[in-house]
Each structure stands twice: as structure tokens, then as C-alpha cells.
């Protein structure tokens, strides 16, 4: 872990992040109106994941945290994704 340096994020950064999130939320709402059939769920999930990533990076300060924490977050999410995939290896092929 790097020595703790106090990171102070200006209010304006947070404001810009919020605007970005609201834009993505708007897309999320509009997506069902655009008939993308089977891909709609995937796009919705991708949009949600992007928003989640932005919240974690900026609001939860992952951007300025030490690398161990960033690695842990990624590893945990990968493990979770693998568990879902493995469970679906049952349900998809039944």
C-alpha cells in the first residue's frame, strides 16, 4: 500500500460525474423503447455496469486508492461472474 496521501476531490468533479451518471440513466430508460430484442437485457446490464464502475471509481475513490484495493474489487467481481456462469452451465443446457 502506498503511504496515505490525502486526496481532496473538488466538488465540481463530483458534479460532472453525476451528470454523466444521469445521462447514462437516461439511456437506460430509453433503451426499452428502442426495440433491440434479445440484446436489450445485455445493453441494460452493460449500462448499469458502466454506471457502477463510475460510482466506484469516483464516488468511492477507487481512482485514487492503492492498487491492492483495485485488484481486490476486480477479483471479487470476477469470482462472482464465474459463479453465475457456472450455474448457468446447468440452466442453459437443461
Amino acid at each position: 500500500m502506498d503511504p496515505e496521501v490525502k486526496h481532496l476531490t473538488e466538488y465540481s468533479i463530483y458534479g460532472k460525474v453525476l451528470i454523466g451518471l444521469l445521462v447514462l440513466t437516461t439511456f437506460t430508460i430509453l433503451v426499452p423503447w428502442v426495440n433491440l430484442t434479445a440484446y436489450t437485457a445485455l445493453i441494460a446490464l452493460l449500462l448499469a455496469s458502466t454506471k457502477a464502475g463510475i460510482v466506484m471509481t469516483y464516488f468511492m475513490h477507487l481512482k485514487v486508492e492503492y492498487s491492492l484495493l483495485k485488484i481486490l474489487v476486480i477479483v471479487v467481481l470476477l469470482i462472482y461472474a464465474t459463479v453465475i456462469l457456472l450455474t448457468f452451465s446447468d440452466y442453459i443446457f437443461r
Binding site: E4, I29, V55, Y80
Partner: protein, 218 residues
């Protein structure tokens, strides 16, 4: 790996009791502990999302029909409200770092107000469903198609568990607000606010996924 332990001023040291060892303050450790706790919450909701994924895979058409019963406007409003509250709680940390107690107070109050708005919205949403007997366990529910039953069970379970976490998060932030007012959270000592903020962002993250998965099913 270098560890920086922030030494507390001698005047703030507690009496060393021989019942336990006086521990030096470790903000990095406290935050790491909070992040690990957040991982456990992700896995907790993860189990529910797994059930959702399996059931939606099995009953995709029914899920779409059932989700039309939900009020997407309120869902979207709640999403916006939580995003704003995440911003304000993050800003409140900057305010504390800037020694701006007034701004920190205002921001935390807005955060808590957002929590209240969310809960009020949920009260109306759930209240409506309950008034028409559309909740798990009723005869009406049991008479519906399987996909509908499972959708509504998931809806109530997931939003209910989320609401519980929201209330806990709000209480933590309320405590943080009190401590900010009392000066116990200040520019040298704000890890409690950071950790409370992290927990609050988790509540936001869960909703970011719940919203499209429950309200915008196609």
C-alpha cells in the same frame, strides 16, 4: 508495503488499560475492512441476482408482462434521487477535508433527505401493491402464472432487502452528521464518514442494477 499509522495527539490517548492493548489508529485498515464488508454485501445480493437471472431465463415473457405492473417513473425518480445522494455524500467528505463544517452539514442533510424521499416513494409503491393484494403469500398471488409469482417475489425480496440496507446506511450517515456537528469528524479524523459514504454508495450500486432489472424488463 509501507504502513503509515496516524499517531493520535497525546491528549487524545485513552488511558491504557491492562485489559487490552491500546491500538494505534489505522485509517487505511479501517477502510480496507469496510471494503471487505462491501464485498460480503455484494455476494449477499449476488445470491438474489443469481435467482433473478435463472428465473428470468426461464420465464422471460412473464417477467416482461409482470414488470409492466411496476411504476417506471417512480423507479427512475428513485434512481436519480440515489445518484444525487451519492454525489452529496462524496462531496461532504471534501467539505470536511476543507474544514467547511457548514457545507458538510448541508450536504449530509441533502443525502439524508434523499434517503427519506426514496423511502416515501417506496411506501407508495409497496402500499399500492399491498392494497390490491399483490404481494407474496396472498391467494391472488398464488393464482397467477408462475413467472408472475416469481417476478413479484423477487421484486419484494430484493427491494425489501435493499430498503433495509438503505435504512441502515441512513442511520450510519445520521451518526456521522452528529459527529461532524460535534467536531468529532474533522479534517484530521474522518474515516467514519468515508466508511459511511462507502456503505451508502453500495446502496446506490445495488439500486443501479435493480432499476433496469425490475422496472425495464423487455
Amino acid at each position: 508495503m509501507n504502513k503509515i499509522l496516524i499517531r493520535i495527539k497525546k491528549s487524545e490517548l485513552e488511558m491504557i488499560s491492562m485489559d487490552h492493548i491500546e491500538m494505534q489508529r489505522d485509517d487505511i485498515g479501517a477502510k480496507l475492512g469496510m471494503w471487505i464488508f462491501i464485498f460480503t454485501e455484494i455476494l449477499l445480493f449476488g445470491g438474489l441476482f443469481l435467482v433473478y437471472a435463472v428465473m428470468r431465463h426461464r420465464y422471460s415473457a412473464d417477467f416482461h408482462q409482470a414488470s409492466l405492473q411496476l411504476n417506471s417513473f417512480i423507479g427512475a425518480l428513485n434512481t436519480v434521487v440515489l445518484l444525487i445522494s451519492s454525489m452529496t455524500v462524496a462531496m461532504s467528505i471534501s467539505a470536511v477535508q476543507k474544514k467547511d463544517k457548514r457545507m458538510a452539514t448541508i450536504l449530509l442533510c441533502i443525502t439524508l433527505l434523499c434517503a427519506v424521499i426514496f423511502l416515501v416513494d417506496k411506501y407508495f409503491e409497496w402500499g399500492h401493491k399491498i392494497s390490491i393484494l399483490l404481494y407474496p403469500g396472498t391467494e391472488l398471488m398464488q393464482s397467477l402464472k408462475h413467472g408472475y409469482i416469481l417476478f413479484f417475489s423477487l421484486y419484494f425480496f430484493m427491494t425489501g432487502l435493499h430498503m433495509l440496507h438503505l435504512i441502515i446506511g441512513a442511520i450510519v450517515l445520521l451518526v456521522a452528521l452528529v459527529k461532524v456537528r460535534m467536531g468529532l469528524i474533522n479534517e484530521d479524523h474522518y474515516v467514519l464518514l468515508e466508511n459511511g459514504g462507502l456503505y451508502w454508495h453500495l446502496v446506490d450500486l445495488i439500486w443501479i442494477f435493480l432499476f433496469p432489472l425490475l422496472y425495464l424488463v423487455t
